[in-house]
Symmetry: C2
Subunit: 428 residues, 2 copies
């Protein structure tokens, strides 16, 4: 038959995908039925590492999504526009779409999936989260027979690389970031990664699939790793934790609102996510009756992402082969409602806090009293050392309502003995 | 519509599956379209933890696979016969089959899949390997765009539990086995687990999916953990390894024969599989271009296995909804040929060996010379201590052809200085 692909973008992921498809021996035999029919690029003159005939390459991306011969549009150009418009146009034109664009899906998922459902086509996004790790399909299919209660992920390789190096080398954030930029592990503008925005896009997508509703990206509480200090990493280690940027979606009961958040977190050293280091990603899914399952693998990179993009293409080739008008309920998006998101003040979590205090007698007692006033019970409180004239006190709480903890902190800030609270982190 | 299930067996997995299906709120909405229509049991009088009406329960299992109203047969009775015959009859009668029966699939896969293909129905087996971990579907679908070169799994929870306890407690195999039997982690007859037979069934299935060919179970080299001693676990730890029962399928190039084997293995402590402890399972898949992905989760248990069984049922409900005569190439089995399996003598691996020697001068030199005669190069050779009169020497080789290593060992056995070779293990 020959399934005709229109690929939008020939950057890292697009090139990786073309390389994979042009070298199909030893892979799933269905891949041999795929034709790279059109590839949309910004410039025809740029040197390329893949060979494509001049009829295939075009700078007219609109023409690809409008070409009646194209069966599947593969959007690997990234960015919000024109990616969004091209995806919508392709869907309206009855083409299935594969995309690696977490930012577009997290922001425009509602209109993209509505358009796809109306046109009777599918939007596939395995590459949008976790690079090559198959996690989107398991969440949509295998794991969906469970009542999912928690999805916890290390979904941003850049920040995990930085935190891993800070921990193993005892280095500062800014030094490691500069080196990561030099080595190509961090972008020149690292905002999306280090401020947690990329992870927020991804947990919004995972939460939507795991909890069966749309997620408003603005509802995702997002805190990056800029304020994580080597001091806190060292204290955390002594207390039996590592610090990871976690993306978490959690629902205590099927009827309670969802908590969706990204923040640096103290993770117990024995936890499965604690040993995920470097640029690797891992997604831990917990549900009933399955218990815990974890997916681990390369979170980025041309090859890994190309694997995920091509697996989506493969699924769509199978769909086209079956050639039925009935929508597959495991491929189509069935979410219509938005998930109700709990405010952060309602979160129940443990906290780690570091205080700089004037070395007065009774300061630990005063801290304890303030916490006690708001029902914050402490797991440990340690005076760890001195910074100049100031004594350093580190506290780890038991589970506490975040709102109560913040009230206690406000009172603590007014204590004359308290100079500052340089660190405040949540504990898994 | 209502999809009618005929369930064969109401043991642990069958009961878990019925419980899941009878409590469908908060799970995938398609599950609500499923009717538990018949359940075949050995005795109608046995007390059950699930409520099923008397019309549903029957001791006539043949009648279930022959009932025209049944859409999907769920075989969770285990064992070889009558499971095999019932599966074949169900398929011939045009029913899709879900099975958790690794032993039957590993032995009778060829006739089962041939029968399914002829009847235009599917055999789903997510629960056969890795309990609740979604690994079968990713191997058949997402990961199949890769050239898989290695699948390495900890796929037997009982042996992993025993080895983990031997390591943490410094205990003997027989003591931990007895305790595991008392606690229900090991069967009264532990043969299938501790001798590696269960793991062999599972790696045969994984290899078949990953490498696209049938596997003759007799070709799977299988060595259990009975001979793993606490002494070797302790030495391995000093050398930077943990001992795991690994199931491995590996192909160096797409045209070379496959190596499929189960044996206790020294795993470097930093390897992702080294930290998989207790009854957990993990499967590491390596391929091009994806690199490494790992799936981790509960390898057994009613809930986890019920999750996998039900995910297969869900997939089949979607298939029945689409209602097309064209076979889905990602669900049907496309293997016709048997994989060519390499003899163990051709395996390239590292070895760990422990020698008891008479404490003569020059014994290390003699060992080294024998190894050198057969091209075996040593990574380390350590005289570790004494057992009574005898000196204990531990050797770790570099990668070596197993046949060469065995020839060197035969020569070493004839050395007068060598009393015995109590341990011989492969190193990852």
């Amino acid at each position: 038959m020959g399934v005709k692909l229109g690929i939008l973008g020939l950057g890292t992921v697009g090139t990786g995908t073309v390389q994979l498809l042009q070298d199909s021996a030893g892979r799933h035999p269905l891949l041999q039925e795929i034709e790279i029919y059109r590839v949309g690029v910004r410039s025809l003159d740029k040197p390329r590492v893949v060979e494509l005939s001049t009829e295939v390459l075009t700078t007219d991306l609109e023409s690809i999504v409008n070409d009646p011969a194209v069966d599947i549009v593969v959007e690997v150009m990234g960015g919000l526009e024109p990616a969004r418009s091209l995806i919508l146009k392709a869907l309206s034109n009855g083409k299935h779409v594969v995309t690696a664009n977490k930012a577009a899906i997290a922001r425009f998922g509602a209109e993209i999936f509505t358009t796809a459902n109306q046109a009777g086509v599918y939007v596939m996004l395995e590459a949008a989260v976790g690079g090559g790790i198959p996690v989107i399909q398991p969440l949509k299919q295998s794991l969906s027979v469970n009542r999912i209660h928690t999805i916890t992920g290390i979904v941003n390789g850049t920040t995990n690389y930085i935190l891993t190096r800070m921990q193993t080398e005892g280095s500062n954030f800014s030094d490691v970031l500069a080196d990561a930029q030099r080595l190509g592990y961090a972008e020149a503008d690292p905002t999306a990664d280090v401020d947690g925005l990329d992870a927020a896009d991804k947990i919004a997508i995972l939460a939507s699939l795991g909890f069966g509703g749309r997620i408003n990206l603005q509802d995702v509480y997002t805190e990056g790793i800029r304020q994580v200090s080597k001091t806190d990493i060292a204290y955390a280690e002594k207390l039996g934790f590592v610090i990871k940027l976690l993306a978490i979606a959690k629902r205590d009961t099927p009827s309670s609102p969802l908590s969706v958040r990204v923040h640096p977190t103290l993770v117990p050293q024995a936890h499965p996510l604690a040993s995920i280091n470097g640029v690797y990603n891992a997604i831990l899914v917990e549900g009933e009756p399955i218990g815990q399952v974890m997916f681990f693998g390369p979170g980025a990179g041309a090859g890994a992402t190309a694997s995920a993009v091509t697996s989506d293409i493969l699924n769509l080739v199978a769909v086209l082969k079956i050639n039925t008008a009935v929508a597959n309920p495991l491929l189509a998006c069935g979410h219509q409602e938005y998930c109700q998101i709990a405010p952060m003040a309602e979160l129940i979590t443990r906290f780690y806090a570091r205080f700089l205090t004037n070395d007065q007698p009774g300061v630990i007692g005063k801290l304890g009293t303030c916490f006690g006033n708001y029902g914050v019970s402490l797991e440990s409180i340690v005076q760890t050392g001195f910074q100049g004239e100031l004594a350093e006190i580190v506290v780890v709480t038991h589970d506490v309502r975040e709102g109560n903890f913040r009230q206690a902190l406000a009172e603590i800030r007014n204590l004359s003995a308290i100079e500052s609270i340089p660190s405040l982190l949540r504990v898994l």
